[in-house]
C-alpha cells in the first residue's frame, strides 16, 4: 500500500530531478567528463529521468489504489503570486490525465536518453545536448503537472525554449539556426493565444468575484462562466478559441504548423522526443485539461475538428511526395496530431489522448529507427539513396516495420486501435464530412508509410558501393530502445481493448474522470445497434487501410515502374506536388506577411536615408548656425545670468555670514534689535 501523502510530497521530484540533471550538465558535467568520459554526462542525465519515471510510476500505482472519484495527488510548494483574494500557488497536480502524460514523457524520454548515448556519441556538444534534453523534460513535466494556467504557461514557454535550443543544436549551420528561429517565432505567435486565454479567464472570474487561474477551481466555476461574456461572446467560447489557437502553434496545426517540418534540422533523438512524442502533444493536453471549456463551446469544438481534419488530410498528402525520411515522418506527425485534435474536437478527449499515447510509441520508434538508418548511411536522409537496408540493419528493419504498420493502421497494432476509436467517435458524432476526410487520411497514411518502408528497406541499395560497405547495424544502446518501443507498439493498443472484441476500454475508464463529457446531442441509440455500427466502421477502416498499403506495395515494391510512369504522364502535377505543394502555407505567409514586412522595412529605410537624413542634414546646417548664435547667447547671457545668480547667492551668503564678527557685544545688540522686530511683527500682523 503506497501512502498518498508520501507520494504527494515526492511529486516535485518529477520535474526537479531533470532540472537538477540539467544544472549538473550545464555547469559541472563537462569538467567531470574530461576525466571520467561520457558516462559522467549521460549517467546523471539518464538517472535524473529514471527518478522522474520511478516517482511517476509510484504515483500511478498510488492513484490506481485510490477510489475513482478521489484519484488526485497534490503538492503545493509555495505561494507564487498573492494579491488580495487572487492566489497562484506553485502547485503540482497528479491526476489520471497528468499521470498518463507523465508516464509517456518520462518513459519514452528515458528510452530516448538511452538512445542518444549511442547516437550523439561523437558529438563535441555531448554535455550540452543532455543538459538541453533534461531541461526539456523539466519544462514538459512542469507543463503536465502544473495545477494552474500560469504554471502550465511556464512549462509551455520552457518547452518552446528547449525546442529552439535543440532544433538549433548544430547552430553553426545557418539552415539549422533559421529553422530554430522559425520554430520559436511561430510558437510565440501561438503563445499569444495562451496569454489571451489566461486574460479572458482571469477577467471573467474576476467579474464573478473569485479571481482564479487554477484548473480545479475553474472547473467548479465553469457553469457560472457560461453566461458571462467577453467582448460580446460567451467567455467559454472566447477562452476555448484562444487556447486552441495556442495549441495550433505548439501542436503544429493549420495555420501554424509550418515550423514542424523545418524542425527536423535538429538531431534525430530530438525529433523523436520533442517533435513527435511529447512536446507537440502539449496542445492536445491543454485541450484535455481545459475540456470543461470546450464542452460549453461546441461551436469551437466543431472548428477544432474541422481544422484538425483539414490538417490531417493536407499533411498526409504532402507526406506522399517527400524523399527525406525525416520529412515524411514530420508531415506524418502533423497529420497524426490532426487525428488527436479531431478526437478532441468531437468531444472524444479520451480518444484523442489515447492517440497521443500510441502515437508517442510508434512515432518515437519510427524516428529512432530513421535515426538508426541515418546513422548507418553516414548522415544521408534521402530515401532515393537507400533501399535494401533490410540486410545490413535487421533489427532496425524489423522494429521500423512494426512502427510503420502501426502508423499505417495495420489491424491489432497500437495505431490501429487508437485511430479506430477516433474514427468511430467522429462518425458517431454525426460529422459525415469529417469522417470521410479522416478515412481518406487513413488511406493516405497507409500508403505513404508503406511507401517509406519499401523505399528504405525494400529492393536493392541505390547509394553506391562505397556506402554499401559502411552500412552497419547501430550499437546496443540504440537498438534496445528500438526493440522496447516496438514491443510497446504491439502491446499498448490493447489498453483500450476494442469493445467489439468484448474487451474493456481500460484507458477510457482511467482517464475519463479527469475529463469533461460532451453533452449528448443525439438521442441515445440502442447499444446493440451501436456496437454493430462500430464493427462495420472498423471493417471499413481496415479495408481502406489495407487498400492504401496494398496500393503503395504495388506502386513501389511489386512494380516500381508504375510510380515513375505515373509521374511522367502528369509531369506538371507531379512537379507541383513534389515541389512547391508542401510549402504552400509558407509561400502564403511569405507573400502576405514576410515580404510585405520586408518591403515596408526597406521602404522605411529608403525613406530614412533619403527624406529623414536629408532633413536631418539640412536641419544640421541650420542648427549649426543656430547653435553658434545660441552658444554666444548661452555663454554670454544665460551662463552669465546663472553665474551672476550664483555670485549673488555667494555674496549674500558672505554678507549674512559677515554679521558673524565674533564680537559678543554686537551679537547682544542684534538680539535686542531682533526682539524689537518680533514685537513689531506681532503688532502688525494682528
Amino acid at each position: 500500500m503506497i501512502d498518498p501523502h508520501t507520494i504527494g510530497s515526492l511529486l516535485c521530484l518529477i520535474p526537479l530531478a531533470p532540472l537538477l540533471g540539467a544544472t549538473y550538465n550545464a555547469f559541472i558535467g563537462r569538467r567531470v567528463a574530461k576525466s571520467m568520459g561520457h558516462l559522467a554526462v549521460h549517467g546523471v542525465a539518464c538517472a535524473a529521468v529514471a527518478v522522474s519515471l520511478l516517482v511517476s510510476v509510484a504515483g500511478f500505482a498510488c492513484l490506481v489504489s485510490m477510489p475513482v472519484e478521489a484519484r488526485e495527488l497534490r503538492q503545493t510548494l509555495f505561494s507564487w503570486i498573492h494579491v488580495g483574494s487572487f492566489d497562484v500557488p506553485i502547485e503540482l497536480v497528479f491526476d489520471p490525465l497528468s499521470a498518463v502524460m507523465c508516464l509517456v514523457v518520462t518513459g519514452i524520454g528515458l528510452l530516448i536518453h538511452v538512445y542518444s548515448i549511442g547516437y550523439m556519441h561523437d558529438d563535441p556538444g555531448y554535455p550540452r545536448f543532455f543538459c538541453y534534453l533534461n531541461l526539456f523534460l523539466f519544462a514538459m513535466l512542469t507543463l503536465v503537472l502544473g495545477g494552474s494556467l500560469p504554471l502550465v504557461f511556464i512549462g509551455w514557454e520552457g518547452v518552446g525554449l528547449c525546442s529552439f535550443l535543440l532544433i538549433g543544436f548544430w547552430f553553426a549551420e545557418s539552415k539549422n539556426a533559421a529553422a530554430a528561429t522559425k520554430a520559436f517565432l511561430v510558437n510565440r505567435v501561438g503563445d499569444l493565444g495562451f496569454l489571451a486565454g489566461m486574460v479572458v479567464v482571469f477577467s471573467a472570474t474576476l467579474r464573478i468575484g473569485s479571481p482564479t487561474l487554477s484548473f480545479s477551481v475553474l472547473r467548479d466555476l465553469a457553469p457560472r462562466l457560461q453566461d458571462a461574456s467577453f467582448l460580446g461572446a460567451a467567455v467559454p467560447v472566447v477562452a476555448a478559441a484562444c487556447f486552441f489557437f495556442a495549441a495550433t502553434g505548439k501542436s503544429a496545426q493549420i495555420p501554424l504548423f509550418v515550423w514542424l517540418p523545418d524542425a527536423m534540422a535538429g538531431p534525430t533523438p530530438v525529433s523523436a522526443l520533442i517533435h513527435a512524442a511529447t512536446m507537440v502533444t502539449a496542445g492536445v493536453y491543454l485541450l484535455c485539461r481545459t475540456s470543461f471549456l470546450y464542452v460549453m463551446a461546441p461551436d469551437v469544438g466543431a472548428v477544432v475538428a474541422l481544422v484538425a481534419g483539414l490538417t490531417a488530410c493536407f499533411a498526409a498528402t504532402v507526406a506522399l511526395f517527400q524523399h527525406d525520411i525525416k520529412k515524411v515522418l514530420a508531415y506524418s506527425t502533423v497529420s497524426q496530431l490532426g487525428y488527436m485534435f479531431l478526437g478532441c474536437g468531437v468531444g472524444a478527449f479520451g480518444a484523442g489522448l489515447f492517440h497521443v499515447v500510441t502515437h508517442a510509441f510508434f512515432k518515437a520508434l519510427l524516428f529512432l529507427g530513421a535515426g538508426s538508418v541515418i546513422h548507418a548511411m553516414g548522415g544521408e536522409q534521402d530515401v532515393r539513396q537507400m533501399g535494401g537496408l533490410r540486410k545490413a540493419l535487421p533489427v532496425t528493419t524489423a522494429t521500423f516495420l512494426v512502427g510503420i504498420l502501426s502508423l499505417g493502421g495495420f489491424p491489432l497494432l497500437a495505431g490501429f486501435f487508437s485511430k479506430d476509436v477516433v474514427l468511430w467517435r467522429v462518425l458517431a458524432s454525426g460529422h459525415g464530412f469529417l469522417y470521410g476526410l479522416a478515412l481518406l487520411t487513413s488511406a493516405l497514411t497507409a500508403f505513404y508509410s508503406i511507401r517509406l518502408a519499401v523505399l528504405t528497406f525494400g529492393g536493392a541499395f541505390r547509394g553506391g558501393h562505397e556506402r554499401e560497405h559502411h552500412l552497419h547495424e547501430s550499437p546496443r544502446s540504440m537498438t534496445v530502445p528500438l526493440v522496447l518501443l516496438a514491443v510497446g507498439c504491439i502491446v499498448v493498443g490493447w489498453l483500450a481493448g476494442p469493445t467489439w472484441l468484448g474487451l474493456i476500454d481500460r484507458f477510457a475508464a482511467w482517464v475519463e474522470p479527469a475529463l469533461a463529457v460532451m453533452p449528448q446531442v443525439h438521442e441515445h441509440v440502442d447499444a446493440e445497434v451501436e456496437e454493430r455500427a462500430e464493427i462495420v466502421a472498423t471493417c471499413v477502416a481496415v479495408v481502406v487501410g489495407l487498400a492504401g498499403m496494398g496500393g503503395a506495395w504495388v506502386m513501389f515494391g511489386w512494380a516500381p515502374g508504375v510510380a515513375r510512369a505515373l509521374a511522367d504522364r502528369l509531369p506538371v502535377l507531379h512537379g507541383y506536388l513534389a515541389g512547391r505543394y508542401r510549402s504552400v502555407f509558407d509561400d502564403v505567409y511569405d507573400r502576405c506577411i514576410v515580404r510585405p514586412l520586408l518591403a515596408a522595412t526597406r521602404a522605411l529605410a529608403t525613406f530614412d536615408q533619403k527624406v529623414v537624413d536629408g532633413l536631418v542634414n539640412g536641419a544640421a546646417a541650420l542648427i549649426r548656425l543656430l547653435s553658434r548664435s545660441s552658444g554666444w547667447f548661452d555663454g554670454t547671457l544665460v551662463d552669465g545670468f546663472f553665474q551672476r545668480c550664483a555670485d549673488l547667492a555667494r555674496a549674500l551668503g558672505r554678507a549674512m555670514a559677515s554679521v558673524q564678527n565674533g564680537r559678543i557685544q554686537s551679537y547682544l545688540m542684534t538680539l535686542g534689535w531682533a526682539l524689537a522686530v518680533v514685537l513689531l511683527l506681532l503688532e502688525f500682523v494682528r
Partner: protein
C-alpha cells in the same frame, strides 16, 4: 488664594527622576574612578539613558498616556509629544556618549564629567518635553542649558571652546531672561503660568488679556528663537557649534533643537492653540528668514563643522515652517522631521569625529578631497547623511521635507512652501560640494587618521541605516509622529 490639593502622580516624574538620580550616580562613579576610565563612565551614563528609554516602552506607559496623565497639578504630562521628543533626545544622548570617548581621547581631555552632563542635559530636555507649566518649562530650559553651557566649554584649555562657552552662556542668559520676562507677562495676562489656564484666559477674548499675552508671546518667541537658532537670533550658533567639541555640537544641534521645538509646540499649541492668528504670521516670517539666511550663509563655508552649523540653522527654518503650518499635519511633520534630522545630522557629525585630527583640524573642504579612495565606508556614510540633510530620496530627509512641504501647502502657505523647495535646491550647492570633493577630487595628502573606534562605527552604521530605513519605510515613525500630534489641541 486657593491651592488645589497636590496630586502626586509619580508616573510623570519617573523619567526625569531616573535621569537626575542616574546622572548623579554617574558623576559619583566618575569621581571615584578619578576620570581615568572614560569608557566605564560612558557606559554607566548610557545605561541610565537606556533604562529611561526602556521605561518608555514598559507596559505601564501606554496606560499613563491613554489616561489623563497629568501630575503635579497639571505641571507635567506624559503625552505623545513629550515621549516622542524625549526619546529623540535620549537617542541623541546615546550617540553623543558613543562618540565622546574617542574624541576626548584624541583631544587629550582627561576629565570625565561630560558623561553625567549629557545625562543632566537629557533630564532637562525631558522636563522641557513634558512640562505644561511655564515655570516648569523654564526650569527644564535652564537645567538643559546649564549642562550644555558646560559641555560647550568642555575643552577648558582650548581657546575656541572657552570662547564658544562664554558666548553661549552670555547670550543664553540674556535669552533666558527675555523668556522669563515673557512668562511674567503671561502671568499678568492670565493670572497663571499653567498653559491650559493661559488658554482658558485667552478664550475670554478680553482685549487687555490678549494684549498682555501678545507682548508675553513676543518675548517667549524671542527666547525660543535663540534656543532653536532661528534668524535673527542665530548669531551665536556658528561660533558655538564650531568651537564646541564635535560630539557636543552633534548633541546641541539635534537634541537641544528637538527639546526647544517641543517647547515651542507646547507653548504655541497648548497655550495659544485657539489663537493661531497671534503667532502664525510671525513664525512664518521667522521660518522664511531662517531658511534663506541659513542656506545662503552655509553656501560660502569651507569648514565642515561651520557648514553643518549653518545647515542646522537652515533646518530650524524648515521646522519652523512646519510649526507655522498648523495642526495636525504640521505638528506631525515637525516631529518626523526631528527624527529624520537626528539620523542624518548625528551620522554626519560622527563621520567628522572619525576623520578629524587633534584640534579639529582636517575638517576643511580641501582636506576631505578624495576621501573615497582612503575611507570608502566613511565617504559613503557621509554622502548618505548629507543627501538626507539635502532631502534626496530615498532618505529620511526627503520624507521630512516632503511632509513639511505638504503641511505648508495644505495650510495655504504657498510662499514658505516654495521657499522650502528653492532653498533645498540651494542647499545642494554646499552638500553636493562635499560629496563631489570626496568622490571626484584627488586626495590632497596622506591621511594618518586612526581607524574609528567601535562607538563611532556604531553611530555611523546606525545613522546610515536609519537614514535609509526611514527613507524607505517612513511609516515606521510617521505613525508615531501622527499619534503624538493628535492629542494636542
Amino acid at each position: 488664594m486657593h491651592f488645589p490639593p497636590v496630586q502626586f502622580d509619580w508616573i510623570a516624574a519617573v523619567p526625569m527622576t531616573l535621569l537626575s538620580v542616574g546622572g548623579l550616580g554617574v558623576l559619583l562613579l566618575d569621581a571615584k574612578g578619578k576620570g581615568r576610565n572614560p569608557l566605564v563612565s560612558a557606559g554607566a551614563a548610557a545605561a541610565v539613558l537606556v533604562a529611561t528609554l526602556l521605561w518608555f516602552v514598559h507596559p505601564l506607559v501606554p496606560h499613563a498616556t491613554a489616561a489623563d496623565a497629568r501630575s503635579f497639578t497639571s505641571m507635567l504630562t506624559v503625552d505623545g509629544l513629550g515621549v516622542f521628543v524625549t526619546v529623540v533626545c535620549i537617542l541623541t544622548g546615546l550617540g553623543t556618549l558613543a562618540l565622546a570617548p574617542s574624541y576626548m581621547a584624541r583631544e587629550g581631555v582627561k576629565a570625565g564629567e561630560i558623561y553625567p552632563l549629557v545625562v543632566f542635559a537629557v533630564a532637562g530636555m525631558s522636563v522641557l518635553a513634558m512640562g505644561t507649566d511655564l515655570m516648569v518649562l523654564f526650569l527644564g530650559l535652564e537645567i538643559m542649558s546649564l549642562a550644555v553651557y558646560v559641555l560647550a566649554g568642555y575643552q577648558r584649555t582650548v581657546d575656541g571652546s572657552v570662547e564658544a562657552a562664554l558666548k553661549y552662556f552670555l547670550l543664553g542668559a540674556f535669552a533666558s531672561a527675555i523668556f522669563l520676562y515673557g512668562i511674567t507677562f503671561m502671568y499678568g495676562a492670565a493670572g497663571s503660568v499653567r498653559l491650559d489656564l493661559v488658554a482658558r484666559a485667552l478664550a475670554s477674548d478680553n482685549p487687555n488679556t490678549v494684549r498682555l499675552a501678545q507682548i508675553g508671546l513676543a518675548l517667549l518667541l524671542a527666547g525660543l528663537g535663540f534656543k532653536i537658532a532661528a534668524v535673527p537670533f542665530h548669531l551665536w550658533t556658528p561660533d558655538v557649534y564650531q568651537g564646541a567639541p564635535t560630539p557636543v555640537t552633534a548633541f546641541m544641534s539635534s537634541a537641544v533643537k528637538a527639546a526647544a521645538f517641543a517647547l515651542a509646540l507646547r507653548i504655541l499649541r497648548v497655550g495659544f492653540g485657539a489663537h493661531p492668528m497671534l503667532w502664525t504670521e510671525a513664525v512664518k516670517w521667522l521660518a522664511i528668514a531662517t531658511m534663506v539666511v541659513g542656506n545662503l550663509a552655509a553656501l560660502v563655508q569651507r569648514d565642515l563643522k561651520r557648514m553643518l552649523a549653518y545647515s542646522s540653522i537652515a533646518h530650524s527654518g524648515y521646522l519652523l515652517a512646519g510649526v507655522a503650518a498648523g495642526h495636525p499635519a504640521g505638528t506631525s511633520a515637525v516631529l518626523f522631521y526631528l527624527a529624520a534630522y537626528l539620523a542624518g545630522n548625528l551620522g554626519a557629525f560622527a563621520v567628522l569625529v572619525a576623520i578629524g585630527e587633534k584640534g579639529d583640524r582636517n575638517l576643511n573642504l580641501d582636506d576631505i578631497a578624495g576621501l573615497y579612495k582612503t575611507h570608502p565606508g566613511l565617504a559613503f556614510a557621509l554622502s548618505a547623511c548629507l543627501l538626507s540633510l539635502a532631502g534626496i530620496p530615498p532618505t529620511a530627509g526627503f520624507f521630512g521635507k516632503f511632509l513639511v512641504f505638504n503641511a505648508a501647502v495644505k495650510a495655504h502657505m504657498i510662499g514658505p512652501a516654495v521657499l522650502i523647495a528653492l532653498t533645498s535646491a540651494l542647499s545642494l550647492g554646499y552638500y553636493l560640494t562635499v560629496i563631489v570633493k570626496m568622490y571626484m577630487a584627488e586626495p590632497a595628502r596622506e591621511y594618518i587618521t586612526e581607524p574609528p573606534t567601535v562607538g563611532v562605527r556604531l553611530v555611523v552604521v546606525a545613522s546610515v541605516a536609519s537614514v535609509f530605513v526611514l527613507g524607505i519605510l517612513p511609516s515606521l515613525v510617521q505613525g508615531l509622529a501622527e499619534q503624538a500630534a493628535i492629542p494636542l489641541p
